[in-house]
């Protein structure tokens, strides 16, 4: 090994960040940790693009009249907001950043099973992202992220094929990441790392990967069919050509419902790790939490038509899908109860990651319970396609997934960057996000039940909806501040933050038994695992501080 640095004082150990410098050392890297950082930068960019669109929409809705932007512009705003947030931020967020960084570290491997495919998946993501940006800058799409046929196939004159192609390409990035995780988790666990010793973060990612592998091809097929109908006038979805528009919805939701679990399962994994660490306890009911992830992945494939209760499906099939939707709620409930029980007789610390985890628990619970309303057929008819839906899925996807993502970023930031972020600011940001989020989205539940349809840019016929819309817009600005803060102090900490020790939280898990930041091949010696996951009892034992991995 060469000398790490020529600068004499503070001698920094060689790690994945300082091993090589220069653009190519990043763009051609096959190190899962560097690829994770490539993803981090790219998804952050898309998060703020998508967030900017959201803010413009909220500003438009401040007043009932459509006065800030034109109808077409507004339609493009919510379409691009949805497409970017779903396909270019939420789906890759935790898996491609934290999962990429942590899966090999947690199972005790030197890298993912296919490092080059991992890099390829980032390039596919970027190609998809560039296409999406190009599509956006040259006109955009106005179909809604759901691009329902026949509007998308024979009526809109916006760039639906280009946007579809962008999602198609990015979808392969998602498939390849899933493939890499599945193989890594099966084949590359360190000696002694049995399935029942795996951190629950890994179980969650395993379940996620299965959905990515099995679900994503279906959306790819759907996009191809839309393109074929649009370009070649094949009659697939448009009844004028002999097609069936409801078929489109079946295909679309067959992927897009499980896609919600691609977003939320990894966040559940993150929160599980955080709760264990900051209550200094093993997770209550480990195997129930692990298998509930798998159950969610499996049942998640069987509930898609609950998006279609008023779409013209048979009342009997609606019955089946309503029942199955309640079935999938059970494993989520099991998780929430187990997390809560984990706190019991713990020794709870309130560091920033834990605050995000508490935020997740609150918001996910509300999101999940409002799902019970939507799965009830009789209520669904009234609230579907209203702001009730918008509020519900934002509670899951933003309140749940983004809270989990931010919690994870804080928890593992010392490991990723080797630096500590300013704790006070981080706690403040968690509080601001929580308040801003509720202020933005809670009023939307009320709006939805009152009957305000989604995707309306002008509600001058129903000025009674204004008060709640003003509250929501006010909340969105608070939320915006809450999201900007972490970006600022994370960047700040990279230069000015205190250097982090290898294990600043005294947390369990192999990733904490190597240096911060880790060396390129993660462990100087292959770890041998002889303990259960979440062995906080041993870690907190007053005298013996076991360090199983020699460095």
């Amino acid at each position: 090994m060469s000398m790490p640095t020529t600068i004499p004082q503070p001698v920094e150990r060689e790690n994945y960040l300082n091993k090589e410098y220069g653009v190519w050392s990043w763009l051609l890297t096959t190190d899962h940790k560097r690829i994770a950082l490539l993803y981090l930068v790219s998804i952050t960019f898309f998060f703020f693009v998508g967030g900017f669109f959201a803010l413009l929409m909220r500003l438009e809705l401040l007043t009932p009249a459509g006065d800030l932007v034109q109808a077409d512009t507004y339609n493009k705003l919510f379409t691009m907001h949805g497409m970017i947030m779903v396909f270019f931020f939420l789906i890759p967020s935790i898996p491609a950043v934290l999962g990429n960084f942590l899966v090999p570290l947690m199972v005790g491997a030197r890298d993912l099973a296919f490092p080059r495919i991992n890099l390829l998946s980032w390039y596919l993501y970027i190609i998809g992202g560039v296409m999406m940006m190009h599509c956006m800058l040259t006109g955009g799409v106005d179909t809604g992220w759901t691009f329902y046929a026949p509007f998308s196939t024979n009526f809109t004159n916006t760039k639906i094929v280009e946007a579809g192609l962008a999602i198609f390409v990015a979808g392969f990035s998602s498939i390849l990441t899933g493939l890499n995780f599945v193989v890594t988790i099966h084949r590359m666990r360190a000696p002694g790392m049995t399935w029942s010793r795996l951190p629950l973060f890994i179980w969650a990612h395993y379940a996620t990967s299965i959905i990515q592998l099995l679900g994503t091809p279906v959306i790819a097929v759907t996009i191809v069919l839309v393109a074929a109908e649009r370009a070649l006038h094949l009659g697939i979805f448009d009844p004028k050509l002999g097609g069936d528009p409801v078929l489109f919805q079946h295909l679309f939701w067959f992927y897009s419902h499980p896609a919600v679990y691609i977003m939320i399962l990894p966040a559940m994994g993150v929160v599980t790790e955080i709760i264990a660490c900051f209550s200094r306890k093993r997770i209550f009911g480990y195997s129930f939490v692990a298998f509930s992830s798998i159950a969610i992945a499996v049942f998640g494939f069987l509930v898609w038509a609950h998006h279609m209760f008023v779409a013209g499906i048979s009342i009997y099939s609606a019955l089946v899908f309503s029942f199955l939707s309640y079935a999938v709620a059970v494993p989520s409930a099991i998780k929430v109860f187990n997390w809560t029980a984990t706190l019991y007789k713990g020794s709870i610390h309130y560091d920033a990651p834990m605050l995000y985890a508490f935020g997740f628990l609150g918001l996910f619970t509300m999101g999940g319970l409002t799902g019970l309303f939507l799965a009830a057929l009789g209520i669904n008819v009234h609230v579907t396609d209203t702001y009730f839906i918008v509020a519900h899925f934002h509670y899951i996807m933003v309140g749940g997934a983004v809270m989990g993502y931010l919690g994870g970023m804080h928890f593992w930031w010392p490991k990723i960057s080797g630096r500590l972020y300013p704790e006070g600011w981080a706690r403040l940001a968690a509080l601001i996000v929580f308040i801003g989020f509720n202020l933005t989205f809670f009023p939307q539940f009320l709006l939805g039940y009152m009957g305000m349809p989604r995707r309306y840019y002008d509600y001058s016929h129903m000025p009674e909806f204004q008060v709640l819309n003003v509250l929501s817009t006010a909340g969105a600005t608070v939320l915006g501040v809450g999201y900007l803060l972490p970006m600022v102090y994370f960047l700040w900490s990279m230069r000015y933050g205190k250097p982090a020790s290898d294990n600043p939280w005294n947390a369990a898990g192999l990733e904490w038994k190597t240096a911060s930041p880790p060396p390129t091949f993660n462990f100087d010696e292959e770890p041998v695992v002889t303990w259960e996951a979440y062995n906080y009892e041993e870690l907190d034992a007053p005298h013996k501080r076991e360090v199983p991995v020699a460095r």
């Binding site: 509007f151 187990n338 007789k345 020794s347 609150g362 619970t365 019970l372 009957g451």
Partner: protein, 350 residues
């Protein structure tokens, strides 16, 4: 401004109370669940906060507890599921004898036509206390007919009929929204449902009608030459359509379908698709030759000649200029069985 700030939508149909009751039940149930979880979270978080010298107590888990908190929620969920399904079945099953309104949606407008022949745009007048069945189709993309005060919503699809119904309970003017995103002026595709007292409604109904929809259909039936094969007096080259609507029909391929709105529509647009047993495939398609409104008129006509006691259907229609006659004509033409079958998408071929 607070006058314009009610937090609860108005209840103006018979369904609204059912939906709200379930909604309130769910608010209570989920409120209790939330309270339980949040109380535990906050209590544990406070009670078991880190104290120097006190270590966490490791607990592996508890299978009885796991079973408890899987089974109890599941039972609660099943109660909600069954209740929700019961409300939904009521919502989705139009009662027999409902007055019929044909709806044609297009970007970005609602065109409505009463069976009595009144036409409206973006406005629907209905009397209090009468069941109204909407038979809806779209000329272009998918729309959705949504009246929050009635707690009623149904997507309106191109290429087929979907059905919804309501019974208004309170006079007033209520929002009508398009709830399925349909392009540029989606948020402009709004209108109102005007619920009137029966007397007022009759007065409104008597102003400027163009004659009942089925009469328009009858005229079209002759103009398009349908009547040369589908003869009323004898069995022609096509099946006699008297009394067919709402009854099962034996098809050439051995299947049996119910002659509902969607079936009649399909037969006009794609005559080869579900051909009646014993007839030659000689009927030309009318795809592109008849508008959605004309289709509705034809469907209404074929329904009208299936009214049970009608040897002389064409004549009874004349009475519709009077007050109560329309409901007489409609009552017998709609069998409940036919309407439930209008829902499933099983009736689609292609």
């Amino acid at each position: 401004m607070l006058n314009n700030f009610p937090l609860w939508p108005e209840q103006a149909s018979t369904m609204a109370g059912h939906v709200d009751a379930l909604y309130i039940f769910l608010l209570i149930v989920t409120g209790m669940m939330t309270l339980l979880i949040f109380t535990c979270l906050i209590f544990f978080a406070a009670r078991f906060r880190h104290r120097p010298g006190v270590r966490a107590e490791q607990i592996e888990g508890s299978i009885p507890l796991e079973i408890t908190w899987s089974v109890i929620p599941f039972i609660v969920f099943m109660v909600i599921f069954v209740w929700g399904a019961a409300v939904y079945f009521k919502e989705r099953t139009p009662p027999s004898g409902a007055a019929e309104v044909y709806v044609v949606a297009k970007q970005w407008m609602w065109k409505l036509e009463h069976a009595e022949g009144q036409r409206e745009i973006n406005e629907l007048h209905v009397p209090v206390g009468r069941d109204v069945k909407m038979i809806m189709t779209s000329q272009d993309v998918i729309h959705s007919f949504f009246v929050p005060a009635f707690r009623m919503k149904q997507d309106v699809l191109p290429g087929r009929y979907t059905v919804a119904w309501f019974r208004a309970t309170k006079p007033g003017v209520y929002h009508l929204f398009c709830a399925e995103y349909c392009g540029t002026q989606h948020s402009g595709m709004v209108g109102s449902v005007v619920v009137m007292q029966p007397a007022q409604y009759e007065a409104w109904m008597n102003g400027g009608s163009t004659g009942p929809l089925s009469a328009t259909g009858e005229k079209l039936f002759a103009e398009l030459g349908c009547s040369t094969c589908h003869r009323a007096d004898a069995q022609g080259r096509g099946p006699n359509l008297q009394g067919v609507f709402g009854k099962p029909v034996q098809l050439e391929d051995g299947r049996t379908v119910t002659a509902d709105e969607n079936y009649v529509r399909e037969c006009i647009l794609d005559p080869g698709g579900k051909r009646v047993k014993g007839f030659q495939p000689i009927m030309p398609t009318f795809q592109g030759l008849v508008s959605e409104e004309q289709l509705n008129a034809l469907v209404a006509y074929i329904k009208s000649i299936s009214a049970d006691n009608s040897g002389a259907v064409g004549k009874t229609i004349k009475a519709t200029a009077g007050t109560a006659a329309p409901s007489v004509q409609i009552q017998s033409s709609t069998q409940p069985k036919a309407q439930t079958n209008a829902q499933p998408n099983g009736s689609q071929v292609q």
